[in-house]
Symmetry: C2
Subunit: 140 residues, 2 copies
């Protein structure tokens, strides 16, 4: 029983197929300590002794986004990265030198700020993106 089973089960209940590629891609995302790009995933497939077309990876990202299984992250380097949709609300910090990414949890969330903005700007806020940039222990 792989860690991705319950997700695959959920997808199947919604009428989607259980393929080898989808299973492995989810496994790899689940066990990665860092968000992964399309290229990262192709490399991970390679290391697992398989291959996957980049088209498939991008389409799978789109599919899993639609199903809200993963979420997209943007670190400003024009490479989209993805992680399994987290239970705990967290953000990230990326080392601007070696690109290492770690999760960070704020002491206070941004809910009250969002309410204030919604009120002042008459925007209906749907989400936000907050990423920190700096130098990791090794790179400073």
């Amino acid at each position: 029983m792989q860690a991705s089973s319950h997700i695959l089960k959920r997808l199947k209940e919604r009428g989607h197929r259980f393929t080898k590629t989808r299973g492995l891609l989810l496994e790899l995302l689940l066990k990665s300590p860092e968000p992964l790009s399309a290229l990262d995933l192709q490399k991970a497939f390679s290391r697992s002794g398989t291959t996957v077309a980049k088209t498939t990876v991008y389409r799978e990202f789109a599919f899993l986004m639609k199903e809200k299984v993963i979420r997209e992250l943007d670190f400003g380097d024009s490479i989209k990265r993805y992680e399994i949709m987290p239970d705990n609300h967290h953000h990230h910090i990326m080392c601007v030198n070696c690109r290492k990414i770690e999760e960070v949890v704020l002491e206070k969330d941004l809910d009250s700020e969002e309410k204030m903005i919604a009120k002042n700007k008459q925007f209906k806020i749907l989400n936000h993106s907050l990423e920190f940039f700096g130098l990791c222990a090794k790179c400073q």
Copy 2:
């Protein structure tokens, strides 16, 4: 006396040239209520009755970034946008429908959070990016 004069003066003091393109580009950035992309700027040049090569716009962005006259913003749509380096620390909210961007100022800044992260993660934090996404008054 244009609004960009003091910036051009500052650049000149550092040994850089005062060109028509640089002057107009700064004028346009200064008077824009929203951050601008390279394409936005080319269009704005057009409306001013001039033209500019996209290469020039990108190189000018790089130059002005190096001189810390502007800063780069990322709203996750793989288009870099730029705004004059602000005095007041602010973030932005973008309408996911019509792409309208407005400035927002937090009630509490993220300094204490940054200190906490720096301590816990042993990162030296250099900066952060925080953008909100939602629907503006017209689009909801």
